[in-house]
């Protein structure tokens, strides 16, 4: 079975977000994505899986499945959970090298650039960094 590439997934997300002309619809969509995120196994909701630099708590776990990196996550804030769900949708079940190389420019295209700034304490930057670190570790 052919897997959808990161670029293709990014493109799908960008097209999806183009449907929203107002910020509230966009955020409602992010919140819905968060609510739909599969529940993370409880054993991973502990300190060592927390991503630093987030105002909300974000737990992120990665494991290898058939040479690809499978991510699960959770957060106690819904917007943050939606954002991590968005990242998981694009990066999960991809090859480590593709995750490491992903430029994530789609975040700018869907108008969430403000969340990339360091002053935004939702930790989007740290989430991406952590996902790439997991990919590096799994690549070995």
């Amino acid at each position: 079975m052919r897997m959808t590439s990161i670029k293709e997934k990014e493109q799908a997300v960008v097209e999806e977000f183009e449907l929203f002309d107002d910020w509230m619809d966009k955020y409602n969509h992010i919140i819905e994505m968060g609510k739909a995120l599969p529940v993370i196994d409880d054993q991973y909701k502990q300190e060592k899986y927390l991503i630093k630099g987030c105002q909300a708590q974000v737990w992120l776990h990665a494991e290898q499945k058939d040479g690809r990196v499978h991510f699960t996550a959770d957060s106690d804030a819904l917007i943050t959970k939606g954002i991590v769900a968005l990242l998981i949708r694009v990066l999960s079940d991809q090859k480590p090298d593709d995750i490491i190389d992903a430029d994530m420019s789609f975040i700018d295209e869907i108008g969430l650039k403000e969340h990339l700034s360091q002053t935004r304490s939702n930790g989007l930057v740290n989430m991406i960094k952590q996902m790439k670190l997991y990919a590096l570790a799994i690549k070995g």
């Binding site: 105002q55 819904l78 943050t80």
Partner: protein, 406 residues
């Protein structure tokens, strides 16, 4: 003349701007206040007409700038009713003022086995410097407990004071809860045991008149930028005798009397504690901000802000699932709350999309959040230029938040 926030607003250029295509509503004043035109003009005037290094050259500009700088010290001395202008030390802000005392005072007085008392509601700036000092001198940090309504447990303070206590360092007003602490009673209680007291006044000076002679505090610290002045400048007030007894902190120009490679003698107060070229422009800006506060009237500002706090609390009380933090009867212009079912970060993000700036998170006071077992709060903090109409917009914003998450 009656107080009109609508008139006052016109003096603040930034309040005319939009954020996210909505008129800015700035409710993050406990983090920093906006600056009136007079302060901005003062900064520009200094660099356009007066810029020169002070206390040095014999030339016209240098002596003019020196005079302006020393006049600012006098203005501040009078504003806080200090006995001498040399008891006013310019710093980068409250944090640096506290660090100065934590280094210099502790070097002189703190010995192994001694104790320093702080409170459970301190900002990190009034926790960490003392932790560092205690570690350096093998001393112990003691913490006055807080009650659930966000007030200090005064009997707890009394119980902690003993012969080993070398200093009490307490905030005048809590930045996270708005509680106004009974600092005069605290100071007098500590003085009965001959323990000096430092007051962190960063959140007090924008909202009330502070009289250091009446309080009888040994140190009082505050920042310019929280009281309509520029960032990067603040004040350490200290009693003359104790400041004279303390060793210099940073070394450099200005703080010396004479330097040779075998021996350096130090300058007297206040210069002993002001090494290097000072932040002249921002000191002048802070002076202008203080004159602005005096002209507007701290009493009128306080009355207006109390009206805003009462109005906001009354309206917020009608919201579902809300929990307030800090319900002291004596409180400043801060309302801290969370919705039980909504993360403060979610609330803050949506309000921001509507042009409303609030602070969410732990407000640099993590022990308070641990005490209440919450990840943080939504903090709405007012200044003189805020209006009830803005609170109405906030309420609409919060009802949108409830629709989205509740």
């Amino acid at each position: 003349m009656s107080f009109s926030p609508d008139q006052l607003r016109k003096q603040f250029p930034i309040l005319e701007r939009e954020v996210n295509n909505r008129p800015l509503i700035y409710f993050d004043n406990a983090a920093t206040t906006q600056k009136p035109r007079v302060v901005l003009d003062r900064l520009m005037h200094y660099y356009e007409q007066e810029n020169s290094n002070i206390h040095r050259g014999a030339h016209f500009l240098s002596s003019q700038a020196t005079e302006a700088y020393e006049q600012a010290r006098k203005t501040i001395q009078q504003h806080i009713n200090a006995r001498h202008s040399h008891e006013v030390i310019f710093t980068r802000g409250t944090t640096e003022a506290i660090n100065l005392v934590a280094d210099s005072f502790c070097q002189r007085y703190l010995k192994a086995g001694d104790e320093i008392i702080i409170s459970a509601m301190e900002h990190h700036a009034n926790i960490v410097p003392w932790q560092m000092a205690c570690e350096r001198h093998q001393a112990t940090l003691k913490v006055v407990p807080m009650r659930p309504d966000g007030t200090l447990d005064m009997t707890g303070l009394e119980a902690l004071l003993n012969r080993r206590t070398k200093l009490v360092a307490i905030t005048h007003v809590s930045n996270a809860l708005g509680t106004i602490n009974p600092v005069k009673a605290i100071i007098s209680m500590a003085h009965q045991q001959n323990v000096p007291v430092l007051i962190d006044g960063a959140q007090a000076t924008p909202h009330m008149a502070v009289d250091v002679t009446d309080l009888d505090c040994d140190f009082y610290c505050f920042s310019g930028h929280k009281m309509y002045g520029p960032m990067g400048v603040g004040v350490l007030y200290g009693k003359e005798a104790i400041l004279n007894d303390m060793p210099p902190w940073q070394g450099g120009g200005e703080m010396i009397s004479s330097v040779s490679f075998s021996k350096t003698t130090y300058n007297e107060l206040p210069f002993k504690f002001e090494a290097g070229t000072p932040n002249v422009a921002d000191v002048l800006g802070m002076e202008t901000a203080i004159l602005f506060l005096q002209e507007t009237g701290l009493d009128r500002i306080a009355a207006h802000e109390k009206e805003l706090v009462d109005y906001a609390i009354n309206r917020l009380r009608q919201t579902d699932n809300i929990r307030f933090f800090g319900e002291a009867s004596e409180r400043s212009a801060v309302v801290s709350f969370i919705f039980n079912d909504i993360h403060p970060y979610d609330t803050g993000t949506i309000l921001d999309k509507m042009g409303i700036a609030v602070r969410t998170g732990h407000h640099c006071a993590q022990p308070i959040m641990t005490y209440f077992n919450i990840p943080g709060t939504v903090r709405v903090s007012f200044a003189a230029y805020n209006t009830k109409k803005e609170i109405d917009v906030l309420m609409n914003g919060l009802s949108t938040v409830r629709d989205m998450f509740g």
